[in-house]
Amino acid sequence: MPAIALDRLRREFGSLAAVEGLSLDIGEGEFFGLLGPNGAGKTTTLLMLTTLLRPTSGTALVGGFDIVTQPLHVRRSIGIVFQDPSSDDTLTGYENLKLHGMLYHMEPGLRERRISEVLELVDLTDRKDGIVKHYSGGMRRRLELARGLMHRPRVLFLDEPTLGLDPQSREHIWDYVERLVEAEGITVVLTTHYMEEADRLCDRIAIVDHGRIVALDTPAELKTVLGGDVITVRAAAPGLDAVRALGIAERIERQDGAVAITVRDARTALQPVLHAIGPVESVEVRPATLEDVFMHYTGREMRDVSAEGGWAQRSMRLRSGTR
């Protein structure tokens, strides 16, 4: 039985379809990534899966329970770190965690042990008695993470959990989560705008855009679809038709005012590509990353010359999304 099974899950807000009928199985113990530009419908999907938002139509099973008809059963097996902070800022960090332990029926001994453990993890032990109102943004974020991990749910939803955290904290937390996944076989659904994070952590990734899945596979598979290497060229008048005529370019995309040409192997392709493209200002060659995959599926491709304006806007959105 899959840990999570979405069945034509759909949510509309007025005339906007934020999630357009997702169907998808996520396996037990899987680390699953949900990537997509701002407004793609990631948070809406997670809120439905955690029973906080009612689907317009369709449904999903989480831990074998229906999110629409058995919400309380679903809530017994999940944990979530919300995109927006949801701790009570008149309480102290410790009090927020204690409240969480009480809400999740942890007996006092275990609760205190876990509180110490997660406080240590997110490095808030010596600030635990400070009022959350006086925490910094990053500290607040870390408290939210500590809280979500504290009761060790079977299925853990993380909505951009590491946004705004320094690299050290992120490293720390991911180590811990990975150990949890390994030791307890919990299932994790993660949304993030940090592509290297998703690449490293996720067993599978779904790229969503406008409420629809546009790609779904392992990070490695997603990258091979693009081919092996990306040659990024800045040029005043790139001879793209000539490059296309070569027949060795897997994809040609415009990215931030440059042109990204994906090829199977840059070692043999670089010479002919540069020859065809004409005079260039700069050249950069690197292996394809998940970022390229993301751009490929959610940014618009070069061929749509008519939609140039739309593309520029989209690229702005993406950039603000990745900060």
Partner: protein
């Protein structure tokens, strides 16, 4: 097997109620201005209204200031209880509501935890007012008012019953509102008529007859009446009727409140 499971489920729900209560209590202790504000207002009513404007009003059996003391107790309980509902709007605004609604406890327990939290706040406030009343009565500042340990305890029990129902009303309104302004507006529409019709400030038989149905439909009427039984020893209705009405009112509000919380979305 079935009963063991049920007992565990029940224990979990009670734990959930305790969790919500714990949070409300912590917030109450931290926000001292809430307590101070809720005490100052009733004292002003007692002294300014009772001692000034009401100086020439006569009521059967006691002084006017002693007569309105139970009324002011009920009024203070009414306002602080119903206004507690605004904090659910606030919880939604700061997103804390998500943490509560995603927890593995039923909405009924969330509601009951909130009722317990709000009722505790108002009961603490009532306790302070009762102590003040006893002191002012003994000192002769509120002539005719003498509060014995027995009347003190009885009044507190009656207040706890009335307050639980009133907090429920506030929470029901709060569950349906998404802005504090909306809450303020709706609750004002409920609060002022409830207060003025309750007989807190005058004997209800002095009101025009056409208002009688509204007076009888006002739950605060019975709170005030029961409190007069406890504190002054005389009142309009039999005590059993007052308590019965307040009990039915509480049961109805808890039922409605559970439903309102069940429907509540983030």
């Amino acid at each position: 097997m079935g009963t063991a499971l049920d007992a565990a489920a029940l224990r979990n729900e009670i734990g959930g109620i305790a969790a919500i209560w714990y949070r409300e209590w912590k917030v109450f202790l931290r926000e001292k201005s809430r307590i101070v504000a809720s005490i100052v207002n009733p004292i002003l009513w007692l002294v300014v209204f009772g001692g000034g404007l009401g100086r020439n009003v006569t009521v059967p059996g006691t002084s006017y200031q002693a007569f309105i003391f139970p009324g002011i107790l009920a009024q203070a309980a009414l306002f602080s209880s119903v206004f507690f509902g605004v904090y659910i709007v606030w919880d939604r605004k700061i997103d804390f509501l998500k943490e509560v609604l995603v927890a593995p406890i039923s909405r009924t327990s969330v509601f009951l935890g909130k009722v317990a939290g709000g009722a505790t706040d108002s009961v603490v406030q009532s306790l302070i007012l009762l102590v003040l009343g006893a002191i002012l009565g003994a000192a002769g500042i509120l002539p005719g008012l003498s509060i014995t340990p027995a009347s003190f305890g009885a009044a507190l029990l009656i207040l706890a019953l009335a307050i639980s129902g009133l907090v429920s009303v506030g929470l029901i309104v709060g569950a349906m509102m998404d802005s504090p302004e909306g809450f303020q507006l709706v609750s004002s529409f409920l609060l002022f008529p409830a207060f003025f019709l309750s007989g807190a400030l005058f004997p209800i038989d002095r009101l025009p007859a056409w208002l009688t149905p509204f007076v009888l439909a006002d739950p605060l009427t019975y709170s005030v009446d029961a409190l007069r039984h406890a504190i002054l020893g005389t009142a309009h209705f039999p005590l059993a009727l007052d308590i019965g009405v307040l009990g039915v009112f509480l049961a109805a509000m808890v039922w409605l409140g559970s439903r309102a919380f069940d429907r509540m979305r983030i």
